[in-house]
Amino acid sequence: MDGTPARISIKQLETSLVSLRGLEVVLGKVVQDDWDEKMGPTPYPSVTTLRSWDHRLLQRYEPFYSPLCDMCCLCTYGKCDLTAGKKGACGIDIRTQQGKIVLLACLMGAATHATHSRHILDYLIKKRGRDHPISLGEEVILEAPIIRTVAGVRPKTLGDLEEVVDYVTSQITQLLSATATGQESNYLDYESKALHAGMLDNVALEISDIAQISGLNFPKGDPNAALIDIGMGVVDKSKPVILCVGHNVAPGAETIDFLEKEGLYGQVEVAGICCTAHDLARYRSGAKIIGPLSKQLMFVKSGVADVMIVDQECVRADIVEEAQKVGTRVITTVDQICAGLPDMTSTSAESVIEQLTSGKQRAVLVRDPVKVAQIAVKTALSIAPARRGQTVSKDEEILAAATKCTLCHECRRACPNDLEIDVAVNEARSGSMQKLLLLYDFCMNCGRCVSACARHIPILDLLEIANREKIKNERFKIRAGRGPILDTEIRNVGRPIVMGEIPGVVAFVGCSNYPNGGKELAEMADEFARRRFIVVASGCSAMDMARYNDENGQSLYEKYPGDFDAGCIANVGSCVANAHIIGAAIKIANIFAKRPLRANFEEIADYILNRVGAVAIAWGAQHQKAASIGTGVNRLGVPVILGPHGAKYRRAYLGRSDKDERWMASDVRSGRSVYVGPAPEHLMYVAETKEEAMVMAARLVMRPSDTSKGRLIKLSNYIDLHRKLFGKMPEDFHLFVRTETDLPLGMKDVLLTMMKEKGWKPKEIPELGSTILDRLVSRKV
C-alpha cells in the first residue's frame, strides 16, 4: 500500500453534460493491491459480519454465567435486583446483564490494547517515519497473520498499520454503544459482540508487537534470544536505579538510548516490572526484570528505585503515592495515567530535573518519551548518592507494630487467596517469622490485608523483613521474548501438530493472580515440556515460570530450548506478543494447510477448531485485557483454561459431552452429518486446581480431525496425566475413542474391556476431516 494522497486537478472541462472549472479532488489514500492472494469474504468485518460463526460456536459452547453481583448499577433506574429471574427497570435479566458486563470487560481490554497500539505506532512513526518497513526477519514472510486474516490487508510499513488501528478503534466504539441502556437485548448477541471485541483486541496486539519489533529491532523469532536476569534481587543497588512500570516500552527504550548516548549505560540500572520489563529486555539484554505485576507493590515500597517511570496498563492506582513515601521520584508518561500530577510536558527538561531533584515536585506528568528519558537519567544521577546515605531502618518500628495483632482474622478474610496471614502475623508477635517466610511465595502482594487491618500493622513490610535474605538473593534467568514464530518452524511442526504426533501446543499466558503462587505455573510448563508438547509463554506467566530453579539450579528457560517445537519452551515476550501465539495457529492453517487467510476469518477459525490442538492456560488471569485476549482466541477456535479466580470473569463457554446432538459437524467431503465430539470439549473453562487444569489441557488439545496415531498419543497423555495426578483411570476416556486404533497399544486390552462395560461403539472418522461451516463442504449429499 502507498500512503501518499492522490490529487486530481481539472482546470477546465466542457462536455455536453457538464461544465467544470478549477475542480480539485484529493483522495486520502490510493490502495495499490499487489498481493496475489484473492480478497476473502470478510475484509474488515463489522460487528455483525461474523455473527453467524459466533452463534454456531455458542450453540456448541453455551455461555455459562456465574454472577459476581446480583445487582445492575449501570443507570439511574438502579440499583436493580436481578436475582433468579427478576428483571431490571429497563427489562434486562441477569443472563443478558452478564453478557453486557462481559462485553464491557472485553471492550476495556480491547480499548487498552488499541490505545497501546496507537501510542507505540505514533511514537515509532515519529522516530522512524511512516515508511519504515515492517520486518520480522528473513524467516518470517507471513508477518501479520491476524491482520491479514481479519482485515485482508498486508501491511508493509508502519504507516500501513494506521488504518488498521483506525478500524479497531471505530469498531470498539460501535460495540461500546451496544452496551448502553436500551441497546442490545440478547445475551448471545452480547457474546457475539464480546467475541468481536476479543478479535479486535488480538488485532491490536499484533499491531503493537510487529511495530515495535520492526521499529526497535527486537529479536525476530530468535529461539536463542539472550538470557536475562529476573528477580527481586537482580538490581545493583550501589548504582542509581530507574524503574519502568507498565507496558509501553517507549520511555524506557528512550532512557536506554539516552544512557548510551551519554556513555552512561551500565552505570545506571534500568529495570522493569510487568510487560515493560519484557520489552526492555527485548530491546537491550542488559535491562533487568524485577518480575510480574505481583511484585510491583513490594518492590516499590523497598525504595530501591530512585526514579520510577510509569507508562500504561497494570499500574497500581496507589503506586505514585507509595513511591513518594519512600522518596522515589515519579514520572508518569501517558494520557491514561495522569495520576493527578502537574503536566510538565512543555516545561524545559532542566527545570523539571531541578524541581524533582530539589523535592519541589516529587512526581510529574511528562508526555514525551524523549524528554522523560533525559529527566529520569539526570534526576536519578542527581538524587541517588544522597538517597543511598539516607537509608534508615524501620525494622524495629514495623516489628513492634506486629505486637498489636488481636487475631481478628480481618487480614485473612480480605486476602483473595484466604492465606493464613492472621496466624503468621500473630506468630510474629513472639518473634517467630517462620509462617511469614512461608507466605512469601503464595502472596500476590495486593495489599488488601494491609487496608483491612484495624490496627494498621504494615503486613507487607513484615513479610519483606521475614523474607529479606530470600529477596536479596532472588535471581533467575528468563529468555528474552523472541517475538514471532518462524515460518520455517511452522513448516516443521505443522504436520505433526495437525496429525497429532506432537500432542499439542500449550500456551501459558496472562496475569499473576494465581491461587497458590507462581510455582504451579512452572510445574505445569515443566510437565508439558517433558511430555513433548510445544510450550509457549508470554506476559506475567512467562516471568513467573522463570522464577523457580530446579535441583540443578536451572530455570525452565535454561533447561529447555526456546524453539517452537516439541519439548521446548518459547517465551514470545510481553502481553502484546501474544499475537505471535495466536498467529502461529493461523500460520499452521495457512503455511502448512495452504488455507487462504486473506479476510477469511471463519475458514481459518474452523480449521483451527477442528485440527489444531492448541490450548491456552491463563492460570492467574486477572485483568480485563486477559478477558479480551482469551475471548478473541476463543473466536478463533482455541480453548482457554482459567485458574479458579477466573470464575470472577462471570462467564465461561462450556460444552456438554453428554449431549451428542451438540457435537455434530459436516464431513468435508460428503457433507454428511457426523459426530465429532467432544473435541475440544470446552472453549473457556475454569479449573479449581492445577491438577484439574493440566488434565483438562490434555483433553482440550484433542481435535475431531486427529489421525488415529495422533489421537492415540493425545489419549495416552490424557490417561497418564489423569492417573498420575488423580490416582485413577479417567471415567470418561471412552468418549474420546473413535475406533480401536485410537487406543494406546500397551493398554489396549484393559481399555477395551472397560469400554465394553460402558457400551462404547466405534465412530466414523471423516477421511478429509470435518467442518462446522457449510460452505467448506466439497459435495453435498
Binding site: 446480583d70 435486583d81 479449581e688
Partner: protein, 180 residues
C-alpha cells in the same frame, strides 16, 4: 431473617443471601431431601479450610441421607475407603453447568437432584458456582456445609472455627441418626 457477613468480607452479592443454619437445623432440613448430591471441593482436606477426616464425614453423611457424592477430581482419589458409595469425579464448573439443566438426569441417569450440598471448595470459586445455581437453577436448593458463610447458597452455616465446625458436623450426623 438472620444475615451473616461472608467469610471473604468483600463478597457482598445482593439482596438475597443464604439463610443461616445451625448444624441441627441442617440435619432436619436434609431429612426432607429426596435426591441429594454432596459436592466435595478441592480444599476438603486442606488444613486451614477442611479437616483431615472430612472424607469420612462426607461418606457417613451420604449414607445417612442416601446422597450421591461428586468430588472435584483433585480430591476424588482421597475417597479410598468409600466402600459401596460411588464417588463421581467431575470438575465443579462442568458439574454446575449440568446441575443448571433441569433435564439432566444425574450421574446415575435416574433424575436430577433437589438438594446440592457443597463442602470443601475453594471459597471464592465455590461462591461463584453457588451464584450460578442461585440464578439459573431454581429447581435446586443449595446448602453450604463449610465453616465459612457462603451468601450465594440457599442455606449456609455461619463462619466458625475448625473446632466449632467439627462439633457442628458431629451434631448434624448425630441428629441424622448416625451417632457412632
Amino acid at each position: 431473617m438472620t444475615v451473616a457477613v461472608p467469610w471473604q468480607t468483600g463478597n457482598i452479592v445482593g439482596p438475597k443471601n443464604a439463610l443461616l443454619l445451625t448444624p441441627e437445623n441442617c440435619a432436619r432440613l436434609l431429612k426432607a431431601a429426596k435426591r441429594p448430591l454432596i459436592v466435595v471441593g478441592a480444599h476438603a482436606t486442606k488444613p486451614s479450610v477442611g479437616l483431615p477426616d472430612l472424607i469420612e464425614y462426607v461418606l457417613r453423611l451420604a449414607k445417612l441421607i442416601k446422597a450421591q457424592v461428586a468430588a472435584s477430581p483433585a480430591v476424588q482419589s482421597q475417597f479410598k475407603s468409600s466402600g459401596s458409595q460411588q464417588v463421581f469425579g467431575l470438575g465443579l464448573e462442568d458439574l454446575t453447568n449440568r446441575l443448571n439443566d433441569k433435564q439432566w438426569k444425574g450421574f446415575d441417569g435416574k433424575g436430577g437432584y433437589d438438594y446440592v450440598l457443597m463442602i470443601g471448595g475453594v471459597y471464592y470459586f465455590e461462591s461463584q458456582m453457588l451464584a450460578t445455581l442461585k440464578h439459573f437453577a431454581p429447581h435446586v436448593r443449595t446448602v453450604s456445609l463449610d465453616r465459612f458463610y457462603q451468601p450465594n447458597a440457599t442455606f449456609s452455616f455461619s463462619n466458625m472455627d475448625l473446632g466449632k465446625w467439627k462439633e457442628g458436623l458431629d451434631a448434624m450426623i448425630e441428629e441424622l441418626g448416625g451417632k457412632d
